[in-house]
């Protein structure tokens, strides 16, 4: 609903406060820098999933495809601009011949990040025409297949390291804390993503996506070009996923085709969980969901080491069964019951 996204003074203050926190956080709590960066990227994952899933009703289980594509494309560009990629991956980590100096590293990122967005968008556009003609669970399982298959295929390509994966370029020591750079890039991406989506959802395009979700055939019968709308949303989401993936790859440094890049049973399903947990179909939901999820995940990892994945699996089941409207959805219902008009959670 266009009005629900209006910028009231309260909201502006809250957004400013949030941004301030975002800018200051890594300096205030440097020990958590990696987790915070991860959180920001998770926010992008969740938002991007929700655009196609919660807003448009196309629940993809394979969005991790674009994360992986972004990861690899960026790494390939970062390396490939200066060295032979095949030789680099053979050397398994660069050794001493593959040194990246300051400018090389920065240029690599500067070209790699948009490259990741472009290639992801292109692949999304090519696949979209095929895959978006399917509905419901067929779409879900088809995308699941795509996501996992991509991992299997990547694991068979020696040029990018095959099953052993590849390392992103070693940042030079002279650059200082690259983690901080990655943090601020991720913050920029997350803010851009949230603002872009806020804008999109305030336009009639956002309503069109909702219409497709609620009754696609009706929307088509009212003259909406549903195919164009679907592909557009899919491509936009893919672009953001690609850049987020590229940054994530640089964060974890080691890109493995099965467990990192195209990890359907982790990142692939986590983004769905985050959107659901927070409240799908809302702008705030995925953001809240990502935060809650990241905190929960860190707790699981710290206190349940060895069983953390099991715990997450159980969480997925619990959310899917008992909590499908998520936190934001829960608050909305409560306010509605109290007789107030449906109000955004601040």
């Amino acid at each position: 609903m266009p009005d629900a996204l209006a910028l009231t003074p309260t909201r502006l203050i809250l957004i400013a406060a949030f941004l301030l926190c975002g800018v200051v956080a890594p300096l205030a709590a440097p020990a958590y820098q990696t987790q915070l960066t991860e959180l920001l990227l998770f926010i992008v994952f969740a938002l991007a999933w929700d655009l196609v899933g919660g807003q448009m009703g196309y629940n993809s289980f394979g969005n991790v495809l674009f994360v992986g594509v972004g990861m690899y494309v960026c790494a390939i560009v970062q390396v490939g601009l200066f060295y032979n990629v095949g030789l680099y991956t053979e050397a398994r980590g660069g050794g001493t011949e593959f040194i990246f100096d300051e400018s090389q590293f920065l240029i690599g990122l500067a070209v790699g990040l948009p490259g990741a967005a472009l290639v992801s968008a292109l692949i999304a556009w090519l696949l979209g025409s095929l895959v978006l003609t399917m509905r419901g669970h067929y779409f879900a399982i088809c995308t699941l297949g795509l996501g996992i298959a991509a991992g299997q295929v990547a694991a068979g390509i020696p040029w990018i390291g095959a099953g052993s994966g590849m390392l992103t370029p070693n940042p030079p020591d002279s650059l200082g804390d690259v983690g901080l750079l990655l943090y601020y890039l991720s913050l920029g991406l997350a803010v851009t993503c949230a603002l872009t989506f806020a804008w999109l959802l305030s336009t009639r395009f956002g309503l069109a996506l909702n219409a497709i979700r609620d009754d696609e055939d009706k929307a088509e019968a009212m003259g909406l070009n549903t195919h164009a709308a679907k592909v557009t949303a899919w491509v936009i989401a893919a672009a953001f996923l690609g850049v987020a993936g590229a940054l994530y790859g640089n964060l974890v440094r080691f890109i493995d085709p099965i467990n990192t890049a195209f990890a359907g049973a982790t990142i692939g399903v986590w983004m769905i969980l985050m959107a659901l947990l927070g409240g799908r179909g809302t702008l705030l939901g995925p953001i809240v969901g990502a935060i809650v999820f990241q905190v929960t995940k860190e707790l699981f990892w710290t206190y349940m080491l060895g069983w953390q994945r099991v715990a997450l699996g159980v969480l997925i089941v619990l959310v899917a069964v008992f909590f499908p409207y998520g936190i934001v959805g829960f608050f909305r219902d409560r306010f509605k019951d109290k007789g107030r008009p449906a109000e955004e959670a601040p």
Partner: protein, 247 residues
Amino acid sequence: MTALLELTDVTKTFGGVVANDAISLSVKQGTIVGLIGPNGSGKTTLFNAITGVIPIDSGSIRFGGREISELLPGDIARIGIIRTFQQPRIYRAISARANMLVSASIRTVPFARLFHRAEPEAEERAVELLDFVGLAAKQDELAGDLSFGQQKLLELAMALINEPEMLLLDEPTAGINPVLIDSLIDRLKTANRERGLTLLVIEHNMPVIMGLAEQIYCLAHGRLLAHGAPDHVKSDARVLEAYLGAA
């Protein structure tokens, strides 16, 4: 006046059942035509055929002189034929106003224009039409929370804001508060008169359709039974028998 919609010998069979048997029908530009007949006579099937939801077995459907029987529903909507359903189809998880905004002239604007907020004129029209169908107070409610009758009214309002060339209404008054029916009919007549909106209406409510339509077609068992001016059809023996016999 030329025929805007022209059906010639349209036939559609499902399995062994002939739902539409060589139906020929014509709707002149700017007129209101009624389609009546007992349940199961093939009226909604005919609507589905016209709007491209189902392919026809044989025959021809022409709109503005152009053959449309091979077109898909989206194309037919973009040509200007909009239709409502017996069971109202609205977008349940967004507000009534949002339903209106997403339907406003959506078939005529180029895709890129979707990436703007709704224009003030569209917002005004949306509220105006919602007010007309008596839903102004409910404009921020989720469409799925409205009652059956309210959803039907919303669906009609959505169709009107879409500014079609021709509107196919499937039992528009069923489930509507009788108090509202008269003003509803008035509005349809006004839209027809002032904007030249052509209407093809399926109705079971005889007084309504007799007062609204200029021409009436009566279907029974998939076949065209009679057609002509309301008075003529009303007193046609075959029509009376089809209704009484079917009851």
